[in-house]
Amino acid sequence: MAPPPAEPPRRRRPALGGLPRLALLLPTLVITALCFVIPLGLIAVYSFGTVNEVNFDVYFGWTTQNYHDFTSTLYLHTLARSVFLSLSTTLSCAVLGFIFAYYISRQPPRAQQLLLVAVIVPFWTSFIVRTYAWVDLLQNLGPIDRFARALGLHGHIDILYTPYSIAIGILYSYLPLMILPIYVSLERIDPALYDAAADLGATPFRQFRRVVLPHAVPGLIAGIIIVGVPALGEYVIPEILGGGKTLMAGNLLADQFLETGNYPFGSALAVTVMVVLMLLLFLLRRAQPAVEAQ
């Protein structure tokens, strides 16, 4: 079929009656420019400045010392560990989120709604309270440990205050943010597509690969971004579940702002993390059409 003919550009009449189109952009402009770009500019400028360690006044200047400091192996090691942890938790999150989202999407409508509510409701109570519940759950002599021993497993399930407990905490906290976008994209699949695929002789696995996976890609990518990025900057969960033994990039960054007051160094860290993340996102977005084309 021929593509629709390229007609002359459509009219540029105001979108809503008399409102000029640009007025629609005004709220976004105000909130991004005034409350995001300008403060960020401040951070960018700070990252080249120095701080008075007594009264925490920041002196503007053009030193690159803060970026130099960052290249110490101490910090690079911490960053690498954080990237690894956030990558592995994001991937586990994607796998679990996908399975569950797919499970929901294949239920009858009523059950779908119930399950969605079941995903969201636990998150309407305080994040801190929920995270501390994991301390209780995972601790030595806690419910999981006792359950495992009742089953006759040898030794303790003693993973509280290890990187594993941090991973579990992050996985738990971010899972709904993974499930929802994947569900939304899977839910759009016309049920007839499954029948059609089966009709065309696709085995369940091929059906899954050819029909389900391509549809899930946009949701998966959205989920990975929404989960992976904050996971990299997460510092409350490592603090509560890490027992202060595992330093993460998020903690390092938060510490500069909340504990030591080294704003220039913290700003340099933030700028670096931002640039790295932007780069990754850019690559991900470029890769997206290629994935979808498969």
Partner: protein, 363 residues
Amino acid sequence: MTATTTTTTPAVDLAGVEKQFGDLVAVRHLDLQIQPGEFFSIIGPSGCGKTTTLRMVAGFEDPTAGRVSVSGKDMTGVRPYRRPVNTVFQSYALFPHLDVYENVAFGLREARVGKAEVRVRVAEAISLVQLEGRESSRPRKLSGGQQQRVALARALVNRPDVLLLDEPLGALDLKLRTEMQTQLKDLQRSVGVTFCYVTHDQGEAFSMSDRVAVMNLGLLEQVGTPEDVYHRPASLFVADFVGKANRFRGRVTDGSAGVYTVDIDGIGSRRVPGPDGIPSGAEVVVVVRPENLRATPAESRNGLTATVIDAAFLGAVRTIRLQAAPLGELTSAAGGAGAAPAPGSTVSLTWDENHAWLIQAGD
């Protein structure tokens, strides 16, 4: 350009309409009238201005110059929601959040039609397009053809003076398309609403339309019945756009009142019908449709012979590609029943005097 003179008020009257987008002229000085109850099509290639013309009738575009009237009332500058016309969009533009019933009822609710009447008229419209039982489905759950019919019912239920259709069959597959063409024509006959149909597919337009307008580069090239446009094209563009045409260059040596004597290059003098007013000595092109160009395996009596390149069997017809030494490649078509001429064989080409048409060259 032929402006049909009638006593009734035209359903659509475009007078001196022009449309520019910045530097781009989309429609140039267009005069066009569509009669009530007519199935009228506008055809032309991409970017010819046909959709822009339709959108000016609907009110989505304001003409840069000229006047748009619907049923005798001046509609220039009137907003779309105040015009007695409705549109079937190329993408259907069905409201995804409303079911079939509410989609169809949309215009009636906007017109504040009473509840009981809404029910009756929506039911009527839905049965007209044979979608009974799908009232509470969402558009996404319907097939392309069904969606197309919802779009049709949604527009027709408002009993518009004119129904505008913007390539409504473009997204359907070939079989469904032919089916829908018949249905559309039947539907138009039964409701009696004026249809203004835009398409780039001349076959589709010919099969349904009472009259056809051909546009190119923003200009109206010709208006007429499908037969007029096909057999008596007003320009070389029209001749080519609506079908395959064999062209022969020549000069008018004599003639008036619709039949001229033309000295055709490489063939000689022939009598050819054409429009009035071509002066003697004018450079012309003689157009002969393939089905009117007879190829007979015999020696030439009048000088035009050609070599068969190949033949293609298409069922009802067989087309033969020919090479005529000074004239280039030609095409002949004949009923599929006879035997195919062998490639490489020599044939003589003839046509009936009435089955050619003269177009003045140089335009």
